[in-house]
Symmetry: C2
Subunit: 333 residues, 2 copies
Amino acid sequence: MAKAAAVSRQTVSRVINYSPRVSAEAKERVEQAIAQLGYVPSLAARSMAGGGSRILLAVFAGPAPGENPALPLDQLLLSGTAACGARGYRLLFEPTAPDIAPAEAAAQLAATLGAVQPDGAILLPPLDGVAELRAVLEMPRRIARETLRSDVEAPVNPGEAAAETLLGLGHRQVGFITGPGDPDRSRHWLGGYRRALAQKGSRAHRYFVADNRPDLTAVLDLAHSWLMPTIRPTAIITECADAALAVLYIAGTLKLRVPRDLSLITLEDHPALIRSQPPIAALHEPTATQFVAACERLIAARGAGTAHSAAPRTPPGLALIERSSLARAPRTI
Amino acid sequence: MAKAAAVSRQTVSRVINYSPRVSAEAKERVEQAIAQLGYVPSLAARSMAGGGSRILLAVFAGPAPGENPALPLDQLLLSGTAACGARGYRLLFEPTAPDIAPAEAAAQLAATLGAVQPDGAILLPPLDGVAELRAVLEMPRRIARETLRSDVEAPVNPGEAAAETLLGLGHRQVGFITGPGDPDRSRHWLGGYRRALAQKGSRAHRYFVADNRPDLTAVLDLAHSWLMPTIRPTAIITECADAALAVLYIAGTLKLRVPRDLSLITLEDHPALIRSQPPIAALHEPTATQFVAACERLIAARGAGTAHSAAPRTPPGLALIERSSLARAPRTI
DNA sequence: CTGAAAGCGCTAACAG
DNA sequence: CTGTTAGCGCTTTCAG
């Protein structure tokens, strides 16, 4: 190929690797030849020659059949491939086998690492907490490691944060509706909600809890039964966006106005929340954003000094999308 | 590595490639050494040496920002990686850039093909209809090509099929509620519904159409407005599962019984449909199933004669999941 | 059934 | 700034 541009293969290599040590003239010729011949460098060859594989590995917990993944995989796939593709990288999603011991999962991961030799790997939650897997990423040929959450900070619990927000607005009857998705996650978030209420709650505080991950019709029934009586929640947290819309609808049929009579917040963001009347607030882990950031750090880390990026890690935390579904609690019940 | 087993690299290669031409004895030794040293063959090296990359490429239409993909990407990712992983393959998802001309998309694809050199590629809908892309997969180093639909059969339109099913049950007032997701797809399916009604419909038939892709609260309102009056649909098709559940709830509040007073069918299957009361029928393209089948054909095709698998292509068609939400139309309106 | 030789396409490391 | 020399880890092809 190279010879078509009357230069050596090395110069071609330099050009496609954006080395500054190429004369403008040579670069020109090479680029022209590349365009003409439709030349595309082979990933495999580059990887083997030590130039980096230009592959990033996203490891997620493969859910047992019938179970839901703990993550919005489609969002991650979309935003991740876009971010990586823009920089000439590829993103490979790899599930861990469901229901296996950490040690086995670690062995599996090590095998994948050996076979693919990615330039970096991301342990997606809840895998980021598994010490065995983190260890595997430490050891081998300096594979940069990333997780979504900062390694330092304690992860924030969305359920807890949402409850605190509502308590801060003076609400005393706060409801929580779990959603489908990973049961462990539901449990964890619900736990956060309980903690917040227990901590700040006086006797006047009341729990309204649906911990059974109700489906849509069940949520509608439930909302009706909660909002009909005089003693009712003045604020409701829903794990999934659908449920919030369902509650909003029920509130409407009962002539309750959001947010005057009822505040609503959901732990999953969704485009439909913007268009609803009123728009519904969301307090969620910005998973996709963090994922893209992690990918970019990984890509940036290539060539940089240490593997484990010392790059600026913006504290991830939660994203509170305030919309007009939140208000102070009404004076009287 | 190989020398640890007291054989040549060749023999190792044969063992890991399941060549039959190895003595049981040598095989034993090699396998032991492999386990001991934690040896993993490098994908890149195998690919470069011509042994096949063991990578499958899934090409999908990258949606414009804000738009939804036309496919259940998370399902495809889950089932696809599982299927490929079980056979030692990897699955790489690659989006086409949104809003570009077919020719450009083709160039992009060609570049990816050159860089990754997958053993096979799958054009996910709606890309499978783009001639330029299909052409790219024909040409190069015998990359096996697959699509979800059979190349021969005309794709079946789920909207049309659902409408026909209901017409066959004697329904004359049939509703159709579009959902979020790819707008083109909505349009297409709605068109099928219209065609079916126009074809079989007498004057007595009535259309109830929501073509504005309503969100959940809008669906709830809509269902109420449809089902309240005396002249109302006796059957409703919803594009997405949520909407079906919403309609079911509204029917309940209006004392309409499903399926006696109202038949329900949705074009998206979802676990929640099984648990609802009654369970709701779904008529959907079994995308994930077809995708897994396509992957397996691709993997099987490696080594086999022709690239373009002449393997038995089971007619894909649609999957009608009958549940108790379907019944004959009531005698009187 | 097993070994030896050659090379896949690139990039690092070193000269010029 | 550019060219030369190796060699990455495997598999193919060809001999034993």
